[in-house]
């Protein structure tokens, strides 16, 4: 029996609005065709069985760019970024459009910045905008992407002062905002990149893609903080290409969003590269977070590590899908993934789905998943020293989550992350 799915109002809104213009029109057309072939992902698709977008997006959320919000609203959201004192450069995007006045870019010859909304994109950006992603949401992103950051760190340059890409969504319109970043680290360069997502109260979708192209011997430390509004749907794709001896450390903290689907595709294209991908979710209410990683070891001698710590309170729902492919030539691959869930309520739920596809014989690959509540012995020990039950819980939850960002390189960023976790715990305590 063939099931023909009737287009949902949300899908119809995406189709009706499609009218590509400008230099990228052809790329957008083929990307949209890819999206249209499947439509919004739904639970009968294996990878999406926990996150049915056809159901989650029950009303039309047409693609929009540009803000209708007041300057005060925008400034309040911008000042909510916890990285104000840490970032040395900042590109700000408001409701899917670059805001040059609210951004501050350093005058340096070591880096080049671009706004992807510009009509005249440099080659190092447009070369990277190619249709062909197998993921419908990433394809939809390319079809509708309104703006985003282009960043090129030139060969041999070290930019270790953090650069922040701040995405602010005012939520004044029930709409879909679509952004895409193209980050290029040339040979032997290094950078620290922060990606912050902050949103107001109200229903919206943010479809965010980040492409990371890390050349030979280059090194990127990336930290993403997702504090979208609590009625928002955050759909994100991070696409990583690691060349020879390239090095990535990537950490994501998810606190916001009604529903989050974040995907990471890590492609090892050169030998001796390393990819460390970690994350922590702090979820409460009916928040939903589905994280899916696909680690593709196509070449020998690379190392991948994934560590996710998921804290779920009330009726929150967490999913971790970690897939590792080790291709036939990828001998001496060293891969390991683990996910750990802390369930603070009987209603909270967590699912882990590890998938290993190993075609090489000389590899070390492992995975582990745990799920449980707070350790009674640890609780007793803390309380036996005079620490109250509430405080002891907070300490243990904080320590549990912090393990995922222990090896974020920058002390200042790690402190901010610790502060965000503490803030979440304090709100939890306040009930």
């Amino acid at each position: 029996m063939t099931v023909t799915l009737v287009k949902t109002p949300a899908e119809t809104a995406y189709t009706d609005a499609f009218d590509p213009q400008g230099a990228l029109a052809d790329v957008r057309k083929s990307a949209f065709a890819q999206f249209a072939a499947t439509g919004l992902p739904h639970r009968r698709m294996e990878d999406w069985k926990w996150t049915d977008l056809r159901q989650l997006m029950s009303s039309p959320l047409p693609p929009v760019s540009g803000t209708t919000a007041s300057a005060d609203t925008i400034d309040a959201l911008i000042s909510a970024s916890p990285f104000g004192d840490v970032a040395r450069a900042r590109m700000v995007f408001v409701d899917g459009v670059y805001d040059a006045d609210r951004s501050s870019l350093p005058a340096t010859g070591d880096m080049e910045f671009a706004s992807l909304g510009s009509d005249d994109l440099p080659d190092w950006v447009s070369d990277k905008l190619v249709a062909g992603s197998t993921d419908p949401i990433a394809a939809l992103n390319l079809a509708y992407m309104s703006d985003g950051a282009g960043l090129r760190v030139k060969a041999g340059s070290g930019m270790d002062a953090p650069i922040e890409l701040l995405f602010v969504t005012t939520a004044e319109q029930a709409a879909t905002y679509t952004t895409r970043n193209v980050i290029v680290l040339e040979e032997g360069s290094s950078a620290t990149l922060i990606e912050t997502h902050i949103g107001g109260t109200g229903e919206y979708v943010h479809n965010a893609v980040t492409q990371l192209h890390i050349a030979d011997n280059a090194r990127l430390d990336r930290v993403k903080v997702q504090e979208e509004g609590l009625e928002a749907i955050h759909l994100s794709n991070t696409d990583v290409h690691l060349a020879e001896s390239a090095h990535l450390k990537d950490f994501t903290l998810t606190i916001g969003g009604r529903a989050t689907r974040q995907q990471g595709f890590i492609n090892f294209a050169g030998e001796h590269a390393e990819g460390h991908v970690s994350g922590a979710f702090l979820l409460t209410g009916k928040q939903h977070n589905d994280t899916r990683l696909v680690i593709d070891h196509a070449v020998p001698n690379c190392l991948s590590r994934e560590l996710f710590k998921c804290v779920m309170d009330e009726a929150a729902r967490g999913v971790f899908q970690g897939k590792a492919i080790v291709r036939r030539d990828a001998q001496k691959t060293d891969g390991n993934q683990s996910s750990h869930a802390l369930l603070l309520s009987d209603e909270a739920e967590f699912d882990a789905k590890p998938e290993l596809e190993i075609y090489a014989d000389d590899v070390v690959c492992g995975h582990g998943a745990t799920s449980g509540d707070l350790d009674e012995n640890q609780m007793f020990y803390l309380r036996a020293r005079g620490i109250t039950e509430t405080e002891a819980k907070s300490m243990l939850i904080g320590a549990f989550a912090a393990e995922a960002f222990d090896d974020v390189e920058s002390d200042a960023i790690r402190e901010v992350l610790g502060g965000l976790a503490e803030g979440w715990l304090a709100r939890r305590k306040a009930g």
């Binding site: 640890q378 007793f380 803390l382 036996a384 005079g386 620490i387 109250t388 405080e391 300490m395 243990l396």
Partner: protein, 248 residues
């Protein structure tokens, strides 16, 4: 200071009685030692004093400084001055020892209506005591008990005790796992805390510890009861003759 009367304790999970009518009084300024065969209920007694979940007191009472201890929460007991040095200290990954000590001390001070101790004062306090107990700065930075050797864990327990200055110190086999030098250091740390307004309950299997921490009273526990009490010479007798005479 501590009065235990006709204490009966069972496990909550299964129908098993562990303490079966125990009486014990500890006066301020005294060191009381409890010896007794494995499984006689010594650790259980120490846990019931600290308020560990999982045990049910079916009969009897425990009064500490005139308060009904059994009515108090775990952390209230600690703030009131009850301290248990664990037989098996618990590891807490992700919580630095120094941070843990500071939170604990300030929580107790707050519960007693005292002001918080400032960070510099606290650092000075801990550094001084840590030095006396051979607890390195590195250990203080590490997560609570994580990667500590058996002996290091025991020294860390005594450091916590020295910093928190409890009214009643319950030491459960603090000597096990200690080498001879560490035993002396720990015993000196404990002796330094002896004072006319502090009571101590020292659980041990070995007379050797009692050479260093000389007890005022020694009790023999067997099958959930105190079966004999005496002066420090009782420990010497036990060392010689074993527990055969007290077999349940």
């Amino acid at each position: 200071m501590l009065e235990i009367k006709n204490l009966h304790v069972s496990l909550e999970e299964e129908d098993k009685q562990i303490i079966k009518g125990l009486d014990l009084t500890i006066n301020a300024g005294e060191v009381n030692a409890i010896m007794g065969p494995n499984g006689s209920g010594k650790s259980t007694l120490s846990y019931v004093l600290a308020g560990r979940p999982g045990y049910e007191v079916t009969e009897g009472s425990i009064t500490y400084k005139g308060q009904d201890l059994l009515e108090m929460e775990i952390d209230e007991r600690a703030a009131a001055g009850v301290f248990l040095a664990f037989q098996y200290p618990i590891e807490i990954p992700g919580v630095a020892t120094m941070q843990f000590l500071k939170v604990a001390l300030n929580a107790q001070r707050k519960a007693r209506g005292e002001g918080e101790m400032t960070t510099p004062d606290f650092m000075r306090l801990v550094r001084g005591k840590a030095e006396q107990l051979n607890v390195t700065t590195d250990m203080l930075k590490r997560p609570v008990n994580v990667g500590f050797s058996g002996g290091e864990k025991k020294r860390a327990e005594i450091l916590q005790m020295a910093v928190l200055e409890p009214g009643l110190c319950v030491l459960d086999e603090t000597d096990s796992g200690l080498d001879i030098d560490a035993l002396r250091v720990v015993a000196e740390g404990v002796n330094a805390l002896r004072s006319p307004d502090r009571g101590m309950l020292v659980i041990t299997h070995y007379q050797r510890l009692l050479d260093y921490i000389v007890p005022d009273r020694v009790h023999v526990m067997s099958d959930g009861k105190i079966v004999k009490s005496g002066g420090k010479e009782l420990a010497l007798e036990l060392e010689k003759d074993g527990y055969a005479a007290f077999a349940a």
